[in-house]
Structure formats: structure tokens, C-alpha cells
Subunit: 421 residues, 2 copies
């Protein structure tokens, strides 16, 4: 008998009909002879509605109280799902995050899982029950208060449960058919990928692929959990995100996918004295704002001036705070001016096979050159090449590269109406 | 420094504006130098909306899962209320029923409180915080599952907290100004009562007065908790429900109030053999249905036939089940027929002073006689006289008796638009 963990997001349990459809899916898995543990998000718009209420009573809601509030959403979805399964004649037990043994730190709103003690889950499974766990939440090990895990919290809950229970697979149900070589809304000829390594998935997620949260993929990779991304709307096979054993890499395709991202801005610190320690000074300052700096590029200094420019990208929403902090320290750092550019696009070409192949960069630069697309920044890892272009050329860049690397399918991909979350 | 427990019902926290108004009230109590613990119900229609969802996914929702679902409502109201208070500059901490130490049995949907261990409440109070507790819910001592307390659960939570914390008073906020000598919608000249004993309150609540739940009053009486019923919409003084010391009764008025109730039906078992054990046989059967039988009257048997009639009243909604059970045992009991009458009205005249006064019954019967109102059943306790009349005469009966016992005020009472819950 296998143990399967399944995760259903908010759009999969948006109303009573959706909940009944998800219940059928869970029961089918059970009837196929598996033990089943399910992590569920809050129903559809619940989270937004609760947040709206919070801001109606308080301009700056207390974080602890906000977590108490938000955690109510998953209690609603788990109990309804358990009821629906029971009405189909199968035993089901809902558990809150705390009851499921999810222990976290006390960072309200973005708590980290510190321990999972699935005693009650195991007992319920042993009793023949399907177990429905509230995603996104836990109990602070220090304060015994309810915490929420923040963005991607339900994916992370599912992966953490799969790791703690040593599950055979963690199925992430979503409103798309799986992971694609690129976003089908950007690249119509994008194809569904059957298998991708967690390392590649991490790079794709970090550079704009929205289907899986980077945090959940990281957790899965670290704990050796196999993810299976599937559609909750049909029975197609989806995408397996696996952890290859040593030596398995040779069989991998050179490139796996192209991700694009329009959510970042570029900041350039112009005229920084080219002396040791300046970069450290700048990024130590920025780290204090908790901004998520992504690409960093430092130009060679012009020998005549002894000055250099340092550029970096970060989420648009975090740019203003970073600019403010840097401006305040202008004299201490000794730079000349700050430039802020929120019209950039980021593109990442990812493939585990790159490790063993040369010429990938050249082929990419050539494809962009022939399409007259200008490259503004370049950054690479072992299995990824990222470039920054103008915002209005990045989608065309993705199509050109998708074709150049032979990723195009024979027909256009079907784009679902869903949100892609 | 006093410790005050306050309870606010669903209509008092129906939306963001109401929550802010309640927050002001709580802060004012705090600023007057009191420690404050608050029990809150779910917002307005939340309970009905959640129930509606449950029946959409399951024709017969599992009781455990239903309690998991329903308990989410109070998490929303407590966290929002705590946020609102914090935004006014006062420390506030919300606690779920389980966190507040409310331990119950495992009777889902109508759990009984078995123990209150307010460790976290005391710690929060000692830290200078106002404490907001989710009403209506607890944790099963056996199964560690969430339970709900059923009807009047939030009132009961407040009283149980007041008892466990040895609070000076338990303030029950409602949408009326207090306890009245009769329902002002029935008896326009009804007056607000300043003080009433918990014994009298129990009789009034048991016979149709809707402001307080009988269960909460019973709990308060048993644990010596003083209740203060007040309006959440104004600052009028309300009604004190107190537990008199020995000998205090002499000062009490003879009659305190008149309650009416149109929610009951009368069942008559006709032609029961007048031999010992028949009544026991009948009511043992009925007890198995958990019906709430109220008044029971057995007529003297006609000597010639050796048969008697037994009548009793019970909630209309429970009548059919009881009739079915009795009908199935017709031969075993040996009665002739069953009569079912759902057009009755019940009236109760209550007053602690009745103990020491004779002639109260005679005065009541005389008043009804002069108004040509027929009495169908009579039942009495030490501090109450109840009669059953036709449904369409019971309100007129209440007005006549209210006048006869000198309870009329000089002007009509103000009737609020609220539900009276």
C-alpha cells in the first residue's frame, strides 16, 4: 500500500461543487488502494475577504491576530471536504495545522516549519481514515499561538507532510496540466514537460514559472520528496519533479524550459568608488530591508575615473524602500547617482544538461541578436542562463529562444482560464 | 481592581463598524480600571452561512466535522475584535476556546463544559492584556477535538469564564435594555426590571423569556456568578441577575414578571388504564427521544371506567417523534387514542415573593376569568404559576395579568428592532 499526499489549492475548493469534485478525486485515490493525506488551502476568495475585514477594523492589523484570523479559512475548507468524503461513504478526518503536528517558529505571517510530528495523522491513517490537513498553518513552538506560513504555504505544508510521513509521492493539484517548457500564454508552442529535476524546477520557479512555489520545491529537494504536478480538472499525467540519483544527469535534455518575469525592477548605483568593500557595504544596507535581490552585475571600472557602476534586480514593490535606504547613505558610500528602471523583463533558460554542454550561451545570444533584441544584463548558474531585456521585448525573446532550442511543440498548447496560481 | 467578564453576541459584532463600537466599550471598561475578559460569538450571519455550505456538500454532515467548521466563525470575530482594540492603543489577545482552557465532553454540537483551566487567560491578564475568548467552543477532554456548546453557548462560555476566574460580574450584552416584566412587544406597558434573582430568571427563561439562555442562568446560579444584562447599543443600567443570600427574600416583590411562549404543543394520551406504573412507562418511552417535556397534568380518573388522561406540553418540533413512539407502543401501554394540539399558548407568572404569599393563584385565575380566558392546564412551582390557554388568547392573558399584579409602567416600553436573541 502506497501513501500519497495530495494538495489542493483555493481555486480547486472554491465552492461546494468544486469541493465535491475534489472529494471524488481523493476517494478514487483511496479506492485504488492507497493511504491518502490531503493538504488544502482556504476556499477561493476567503483569504482576500478576511484580509479586507482586518483592514476595516485596523489600519495596521497585529500580526499574531492576523494569523488567528487567516487560519480560520482552512478550517472551513478541511471540514467541508471531510464532510463531502464522508457523505460518499469513506472515513475522513480533518485536522488543523496544530493538530497535524506542524510546529513553526513565531514569525507570524511567514512562519518557518521547525518540526512535524504527525502522531494524530498516523493514528487516523491506522484507523482507516483519509486525513484532511489545513494547509498554510502551524503552531508556534515557543508561544503556542497559531501561525501561518505565508506565500506558497499550502504547497509547503503538503511537502513537509510527505517528508515527515515518508510518502511515496506528493501530488500538487493545480489548474494547469503540469509544468510547461514556457508559459503557454507567452509562447503558444510551449509543451508540457513529463519529467523535470527539482534543481531545474527551482531555477524555473525562481525566474517566473508560477505553477510551484520555490519554497515548496526547495523543501522537496532537501528532503528527497518526489512532486507530481497535476490538473485538478482532468486526468492527464502531469509533470513529475524528481530528485535524480548520481550519474542520472547524462540522459537529461540540454534545456528544459524558458521562464519570463515582468515583476522586477533594476536599480543601478552609478559612480561607486572602485575600492574593496563597497559592494559589501551596499548589499549589507539592502539586506536590512529584507529585499529579495536577484541578479547583480558590476561593470569593469573605467581606469581613468576609478569609478564603477553596480546594477541589481529586485521585485518592483521593494525598489522604493531600497532606493530610500541607499539615498540616505549616499555620502557614506560615495556614489554619484541612483537609477531606477521598472521597464525591464527577465528571461531564464534552464536545463540540467547545460552542465555538460558548451555553446548554450552563444546559441542564446545569437538567437536574440538575430531578432534584434538587446541584452542589458547577463547572469548564469550551472544549469541556467538569465538575461534582462526591455520589458516589451521579453516575450518575443522567449518565443525566439524556445524555437532556437527546439522546444516548440507541433501544435499550440491549450491555455486554461485559471489564474495559474 | 475588579475583573469583569463581558459577552457580546453575533448581532453586536455583525460588521466592522459594530466590532469597532464593541471595542470602544471594552476599552472604556479597561480604562475605568478593570481587568477585562470578553467572550464573543461569531459575526452576524456567519453561523447560518457555514451551515448552508455544510448542507451543500453533505446531506447529513458529520458532527465532528460540523464542529470543526462552526468553530471557525468565532476565530474570525475574536481576532478582528483584538485587532480593533489594539488599533485603539490597548493590548489585546484573542484565544480560541481550547486555548482559553475550555474543556468539554465529546457531545459534538451540544458539548457540556467539564473543566475550565484559564492558565493562558491569567497569564495574558497579568501581562496587562485584555483577553478576547472565542465563545461557543471548547476542546474535547477525551478526543482533543474541537467541540461546540450548542444553543446559548457563548453566554455559557462567559459564565463559565466568570466562575473559573472568580470575576466580580459577568456582563451579558444584548440588543435589548435588560430583562422586562414581560415582552414589550406583547405587553406595551412592560417595565425594565432592575434586579431579579437567578431563581426567578431561570423560571422566566424556561417559560419564554428570550434574553438569557436557561443553561447560562443555571450555570451562573450553581457557581454564584452575578449576571448583568445590558444593551450593547446604549449605556442604560440594565438588569442585575443575582444570587440572594439567606433571608434576603423578604424584601422581594411578590411577582417579578410574566412570560409567554407560543412554541409548544400539547399531547394528550387518552384513556390510560389508571394503574400504578403507566405514567412511568409513558415518560420512559418519551425520554428516549430526548424530547423536552415541560408541563405534565394527569386528570383524576373517572371511577366508572378506571381510565385516565395524561397531558403534557413539549416543543412543537419534537411532537411528531413523540407521537410516533407512543403510537408504536399503543397496545403495550393500553391507551385509547392520542390527541395533538399545536394551538396552545403558555403563560408563566414568576416571583420569588410567592413563597411567602398566598392568594397569588386565586388572583391570577380571577383576572383571567374576568377577561373570559379559559385555562386548559395549570402547573406551579414555589415561585411560579403556569397556565396553558388557547394560542390566540395568551397575549391578552399576559396583558391582563400584568395589570392585575401592578406591573404596568406609566408609559409604553421602547421596542428595539433587534431579534431579541
Amino acid at each position: 500500500m502506497s501513501l500519497i499526499v495530495q494538495k489542493f489549492g483555493g481555486s480547486s475548493v472554491a465552492d461546494a461543487e468544486s469541493i465535491k469534485r475534489v472529494a471524488k478525486r481523493i476517494v478514487a485515490t483511496r479506492q485504488a488502494g492507497n493511504d491518502v493525506v490531503v493538504a488544502v488551502s482556504a476556499m477561493g476568495d476567503t483569504t482576500d475577504e478576511l484580509l479586507d475585514l482586518a483592514y476595516q477594523v485596523s489600519p495596521l492589523p497585529d500580526p499574531r491576530e492576523l494569523d488567528m484570523l487567516m487560519s480560520s479559512g482552512e478550517r472551513i475548507s478541511v471540514s467541508l471536504l471531510a464532510m463531502a468524503i464522508r457523505s460518499m461513504g469513506h472515513d475522513a478526518t480533518s485536522l488543523t495545522g496544530p493538530q497535524a503536528g506542524m510546529r513553526t517558529d513565531s514569525h507570524y505571517g511567514a512562519a518557518r516549519i521547525v518540526d512535524v510530528t504527525p502522531t494524530r495523522i498516523r493514528a487516523a491513517l491506522d484507523g482507516g481514515s483519509i486525513v484532511i490537513v489545513a494547509g498554510f498553518q502551524g503552531l508556534s513552538a515557543d508561544t503556542e499561538d497559531i501561525t501561518t506560513l505565508g506565500r506558497g504555504g499550502s504547497d509547503t505544508t503538503a511537502v513537509a507532510l510527505a517528508a515527515a510521513l515518508d510518502a511515496d509521492v506528493c501530488e500538487i493539484y493545480t489548474d494547469v496540466d503540469g509544468i510547461f517548457t514556457s508559459d503557454p500564454r507567452v509562447v503558444p508552442k510551449a509543451q508540457k514537460i513529463d519529467r523535470v529535476t527539482s534543481e531545474e524546477m527551482l531555477e524555473l520557479a525562481a525566474h517566473g514559472a508560477k505553477v510551484l512555489y520555490i519554497r515548496a520545491v526547495e523543501f522537496a529537494r532537501r528532503h528527497g520528496v518526489t512532486l507530481h504536478v497535476r490538473s485538478s480538472f482532468n486526468n492527464s499525467e502531469g509533470t513529475l519533479v524528481y530528485n535524480p540519483k548520481e550519474g542520472e544527469e547524462v540522459e537529461q535534455p540540454i534545456v528544459t524550459g524558458v521562464a519570463t518575469d515582468l515583476s522586477e525592477a533594476k536599480v543601478t548605483v552609478v559612480g561607486v568608488p572602485d575600492v574593496p568593500g563597497k559592494a559589501a557595504q551596499i548589499f549589507t544596507l539592502i539586506a536590512k530591508t529584507e529585499a529579495n535581490v536577484d541578479m547583480i552585475v558590476q561593470n569593469v571600472s573605467a581606469a581613468a575615473t576609478g569609478l564603477t557602476d553596480i546594477s541589481f534586480t529586485l521585485p518592483k514593490s521593494e525598489a522604493q524602500q531600497v532606493l530610500t535606504v541607499l539615498r540616505a547613505e549616499k555620502d557614506a558610500i560615495g556614489f554619484q547617482t541612483l537609477q531606477h528602471d521598472d521597464q525591464i523583463g527577465k528571461l531564464a533558460l534552464v536545463g540540467a544538461g547545460m552542465k555538460a554542454n558548451t555553446g548554450v550561451s552563444a546559441k542564446l545570444f545569437d538567437a536574440l541578436h538575430r531578432a534584434s533584441i538587446n541584452i542589458e544584463m547577463i547572469s548564469t548558474s550551472e544549469i541556467r542562463i538569465s538575461v534582462v531585456t526591455r520589458a516589451d521585448t521579453v516575450h518575443e525573446a522567449a518565443r525566439v529562444i524556445h524555437t532556437a532550442f527546439g522546444l516548440d511543440g507541433t501544435e499550440d498548447a491549450v491555455v486554461h482560464a485559471g489564474t495559474g496560481r
